[in-house]
Amino acid sequence: MNDQNLEKYKPNWFQQLLDYMNLKINIIGFNTINYVESIGKAGIVLFIAMFHKPNFRKSFPLLLKQIYSVGVLSLPIILAASFFIGMVLGLQGYTILVKYGADQTVGQLIALSLVRELGPVVGALLFAGRAGSALTAEIGHMKATEQLASLEMMGIDPIHRVVTPRFWAGFYSLPLLTLIFNVVAIWGGFLVAVGWLGLDSGSFWSNMSAAVNFQEDVINGIIKSVVFGFVVTWVALYQGLEALPTSEGISMATTRTVVYSSLLILALDFVLTAIMFGGLA
């Protein structure tokens, strides 16, 4: 056999390993570029949606309509969930604290855990599931049925007409829903702790009002809900615009909205809590 023939029978595992690594590096590079590109595109969409000169005569009715569908239609789930969460907090708080003779502080426990954490976080998670998914599905459907392209062809920017009113509606609605969540949950906790378990009503309210600081607790909770409203709505709208115009594409985009929003809410909650209450600021 000459050298050329011998070359054919040499094991080429090294070459295969190189090819495999090359392929993997290519895939990582491709995915990274796509990821960075999509963040850039989402940023551009947000910029155009937020910073264009509004025409109040046309924009205000659109905003009201979206506040109704994003905010008002989310009320039933917020009311029901907050009522049950408040009742559970009252029940759990009372049964644990009574063992230490600290059952008078149930009101304080309920109020602080709600206004600082549960109100903004659970409210935002419910909002992502109810309103975020609906926004993505609606915009994805508008894309699939050529409604967005029709707007473009009429010389109307779909971001101004479709994205902007939905963005502001989500941004304004979630803090208001969070406040409603807090009030109803405290009332649910009161019903259980005072109405059912017999805790003194005066100590329930007086301990609560003594412990809750408006600036530190309530305002910080609202700031959290403003940030969550901003993020959930942004994610939902961008996923809708980027959805593949098929049934499967829309369903995948809707799932992504709920998953990404939920993870971002929890991660941002940690960061905000560390800044607001953990002494990082």
Partner: protein
Amino acid sequence: MGNLVEVRNLTFYRNDRAIFNNLSLNIMEGKITAIMGPSGTGKTTILKLIAGLLQPDSGTITYNSENIHELSRTKLFQAREEMSMLFQQGGLFSDLNVYENVAYPLREHTNLSEQLIKNLVLMKLEAVGLRGSENLYPEELSGGMARRVALARAIALDPKFIMYDEPFTGQDPISKGVLVKLIKSINSALNVTSVLVSHDVPETLSIADYAYIIADGQVIGQGTPEQLQNSKSSKMEQFLDGMADGPVKFRYPADDYAQHLLRVEP
């Protein structure tokens, strides 16, 4: 009359597949230009490219002597105010009824009184035979009716340039006949430039002033309807007579049929 739209050396890829490869064509002002071809040849894509809804990989498309893909976003939207497109699926806004859909462009781009808008909407709906359906929502319309409402909306602002994407698909013979006459009369009465994308050969050729037939990313034939019908080109004959076998590929590339059937899949 000159050309309102000029497509020069257009190349457009979707993933790795070349939809158009060095394609050139002209849309003459005030005329009806038909673009025909088998399914999947990119007839809708060419309209979206002309409208600036898609970006070409290379080549230029000029509208009124301006490269549509080099216009700023504001100028592009201004140019689109004098264009209109009838989409294949209609593109009606699902949260608005028929009346509001047709009134939408009028409300957006004019300051007309409500009474005048009502008159215009009813005139456009009467033209497409759907006056009386004002209160219906898009989900209550059949596919053909939805496209007629979309046509009424497309002509609401009396545009200078209309692109029709498969206007005859899903229409019954009566509606088809009415639409053919309507497209012709809109074109001649308002001196509109029209592009008609379709694979309904007899209807399209009956009103077109000039037609292009595209396949495999290229123009395989062009001319007036008479020239096309008298053409001896085997590609043209195959398309116009609707034959599966011929130089224009009907079948997707695949292995030998018998071998494919007999092959045992792992």
